[in-house]
């Protein structure tokens, strides 16, 4: 790992000011993705701004609209939260399925979303539950946030502050894990809420995506059988040593059916 200047601001404003100084400045959240990248020198920032000491970035709040999760909230805290378990059990169980218990004790929702790993779980929750990402500059709708492989709508100097999830009528997340890495080969969040039905898929392509045909079928009838005959074309999907694109296409429909079943 290359040397860097370490800074630990106490407020979002201070962190934003440090980012604005420019140069190769990076934010550090749980470090569960970034530290590995720095060891490999895939990332070699000159300055690292640790968000770990900023109290305003942590915690889970419930209000009329839904649940708001601070960017520095650890996966384990979301999984354990009685409020999240009661209002959006699919979100609590998704958080509890990320990595292993040590990763969940460090990793944060803000870090996971900013990283936007194509096989990460939280992007499926944010897109499938129609969440809003709040930054120090603006609010970004889930549909606009994920722009590509490891890419998001975040601009230079922008810090995720929190994420708010509206409470769905029903929702479930089901994934098919890679037996070795335990990451999702395919993960599907299916949700029905006042604003409509959403089906979001992670792990299968270069970036999380929605399946419009499944959403329409489920809006007409919320039942696993409504998905019979609907599949995602394989030509847009990943193919690797773990699963071919055709197999991933097959898994998407199977996982979507299981999610609908689980969210009855």
């Amino acid at each position: 790992m290359h040397p860097f200047n370490y800074r630990n601001p106490k407020s979002v404003a201070e962190a934003a000011a440090a980012l604005a100084e420019g140069g190769d400045v990076r934010l550090l959240a749980g470090g569960q993705s970034l530290i590995a990248a720095m060891k490999l020198r895939l990332s070699a920032p000159t300055d690292l701004i640790d968000l770990g000491g900023i109290g305003e970035l942590t915690g889970i709040r419930v209000d009329g609209a839904g649940i708001t999760v601070g960017a520095m909230t650890r996966h384990a805290e979301v999984a354990r939260s009685k409020e999240v378990q009661a209002k959006i059990p699919a979100l609590a169980s998704l958080a509890g399925s990320i990595g292993d218990r040590m990763v969940r004790n460090m990793g944060t929702i803000g870090g996971s979303l900013a990283h936007n790993d194509p096989v990460a779980d939280y992007p499926a929750a944010v897109l499938g539950l129609n969440a809003t990402v709040h930054t120090n500059k603006r609010n970004i709708a889930a549909d606009d946030f994920f722009t590509g492989m490891f890419e998001t709508a975040l601009q230079t100097g922008e810090i995720i502050v929190s994420v708010s999830f509206p409470v769905p009528r029903r929702a479930a997340y089901v994934k098919f894990r890679n037996p070795a890495s335990r990451y999702a080969i395919v993960g599907v969040m299916a949700a029905a809420s006042a604003s409509g039905v959403r089906v979001a898929v992670t792990g299968a392509a270069s970036c999380v995506f929605r399946v419009g045909a499944m959403e329409q079928a489920l809006a007409a009838k919320w039942s696993p059988d409504a998905l019979a005959g609907i599949s995602v074309p394989a030509d847009q999907l990943n193919s690797d040593m773990h699963a071919s694109a055709e197999y991933r296409a097959h898994l998407i429909t199977v996982m979507a059916r299981r999610a609908v079943e689980a969210a009855k």
Binding site: P3, N8, G31, Q32, I35, A36, R80, R101, M102
Partner: protein, 158 residues
């Protein structure tokens, strides 16, 4: 950079580079070599310690991130006169190890597991230990040890 934290109950202060990993600080500066480095990539769990009561992989944390924290390593588990922690005792009794390389991480992780699941089923133990790899045992005796360790942890020592 100067950092200070509590390690196994004692306050320590030291000078580190910002890029020093917590595991390197623990092993190389504090010379507490019970915490092992298996993979150095956050996969194997051999470097598991507790930071403020929660199990973390110390090869995936910077020493500076532990500023002011309460750190517990395998060396800090045993009680007075070297009396083993109930989980260590259970690993000894059920022979939950062969070469022992993964053991410190397994024990630290298992204690965190039991703190969250006081009476875990075999299924829970297997699922929740998925961040700790063992190349020797085939896990059977580790699972038995964790189950027994959980029972010992529920009943206070005589």
């Amino acid at each position: 950079m100067k950092i200070s934290m509590k390690v196994n109950g004692e306050t320590v202060s030291a000078e580190v580079e910002s890029r020093t990993l917590l595991v390197a600080f623990i092993r190389e500066q504090l010379r507490l070599t019970g915490t092992h480095v298996g993979c150095d990539t956050g996969q194997c769990g051999a470097c598991t310690i507790h930071m403020n009561g929660l199990a973390v992989k110390s090869c995936n944390v910077l020493a500076v991130q532990a500023e002011g924290a309460d750190i517990l390593t395998i060396e800090g588990l045993a009680g007075d006169e070297g009396r083993l922690h109930p989980m260590q005792e259970a690993f000894r009794e059920h022979h939950g190890l062969q070469c022992g390389f993964c053991t410190p991480g397994m024990v630290m992780s298992a204690i965190d597991l039991v703190n969250n699941h006081p009476n875990p089923s075999e299924e829970t133990i297997r699922a929740e230990l998925d961040g700790n790899l063992c190349r020797c045992t085939g896990y059977h005796n580790i699972v038995k040890a964790v189950k027994a360790g959980a029972a010992y942890m529920r009943t206070p020592a005589p």
